[in-house]
Symmetry: C2
Subunit: 221 residues, 2 copies
């Protein structure tokens, strides 16, 4: 993903390369938003360009095709989500690790809602563009996380729940607060959730989901 030809770079990087990164980042941010709000088919290159404040041809210059730009957007959120699950490791305390994972994913739901929506749209439409991500990376990544949870179960650290469905439930609930933001806002009298309400959300989601995970008799989460 990173530029390769930065061999003789001392301190200066040149006006061109700096501006290239700036423009590229602005296009990616605009594309993430427009793809989320209009779907792949409804997001026209000219609308993305207008949102980024540059001519349509310039977007094509940097990303060649609409599909290539789209893949970059989807890849970004995929990488971010993957990193968010670093806490799910066999050596960590299960309840604490899962709680951290839920917290991080809810933070991402608030800070990067557009990326989540793009992913949701892509999966709903049966991943016509990024099916290789699912088969090459998501599948093995998921199996690894399931193995960790099942190790916790074997060691008697959590209740013997279905690791796979627990993962799905965490994904579903956390991403719901990103993908269905508009519905949640409407049901909140049309105003966005406050900091305090996001705090309540974190507590409520962890309380609901982790109660079924923790061993009976343990302290509340």
């Amino acid at each position: 993903m990173v530029d390769v030809k930065s061999d003789v770079n001392k301190t200066t990087r040149g006006i061109q390369s700096r501006n290239r990164e700036e423009v590229t980042a602005r296009i990616l941010a605009a594309a993430e938003k427009v793809f989320a709000e209009f779907g792949y088919a409804g997001a026209s290159i000219s609308r993305i360009a207008a949102s980024a404040g540059i001519p349509k041809s310039n977007v094509v210059y940097y990303f060649e095709t609409k599909e290539a730009l789209y893949r970059r957007v989807v890849g970004e959120i995929f990488d971010i989500w993957r990193a968010a699950a670093d806490s799910i490791s066999e050596d960590n305390d299960p309840i604490h690790a899962l709680g951290e994972y839920i917290d991080t994913k809810l933070d991402l739901a608030r800070t990067r809602p557009y990326g989540s929506k793009v992913w949701a749209n892509e999966i709903i439409q049966r991943a016509p563009i990024v099916q290789d991500y699912l088969e090459d990376e998501l599948r093995s990544w998921t199996e690894n996380r399931i193995a960790v949870i099942e190790a916790w179960i074997r060691k008697g650290q959590i209740r013997p729940i279905s690791a796979r469905h627990l993962l799905y439930a965490i994904w579903a609930t956390t991403q719901h607060y990103a993908d269905f933001t508009h519905q949640i806002t409407t049901l909140n009298d049309g105003v966005e959730l406050t900091d305090a309400q996001w705090g309540d959300t974190k507590s409520a989601v962890k309380d609901l989901l982790l109660c079924g995970v923790a061993l009976p008799g343990r302290n509340r989460i």
Copy 2:
């Protein structure tokens, strides 16, 4: 929604009216599928028509505009979901009622996945077409269900969880199995869930979600 001019209908209904209903139903079914798979912008009338096996002009004849057809599709799934929550009533046993609600919504996730996807797409894109549904019907409907759950809490029948976030969690998890079918199938080695796996899903979702609802010391769900 129902035809009004059926005044002198004895037994026969005429070839025209019967065929009108048949064609209308076939268009609606095709539209639900195409809107789900391509999004509102990506779903062209000609594709819907081809999927229904009739000319494009005939679709326009029955539904006037693409937007009107879309509203009919969204309205159908909205009504179905609303009826699925009939069990959430103050007189019913909470755990049993919520379990029934989860079961019914998971059944709908399996039998009507396209409708769920259309709804998800619409909300992700901030309800440009059906915002009035959200404000006029969904809002009051949701408040009523929250009131029932809070009544259960006041009577000491369930733990004092957040009724609103419990509802959101149920929506998120159940609809996840419809909207993200393709991801779940890919993670299931590319084959659709079997009857047994759907049964496991129901048990796992109810186990995870209702454990946080049931009073401590109660029997397992």
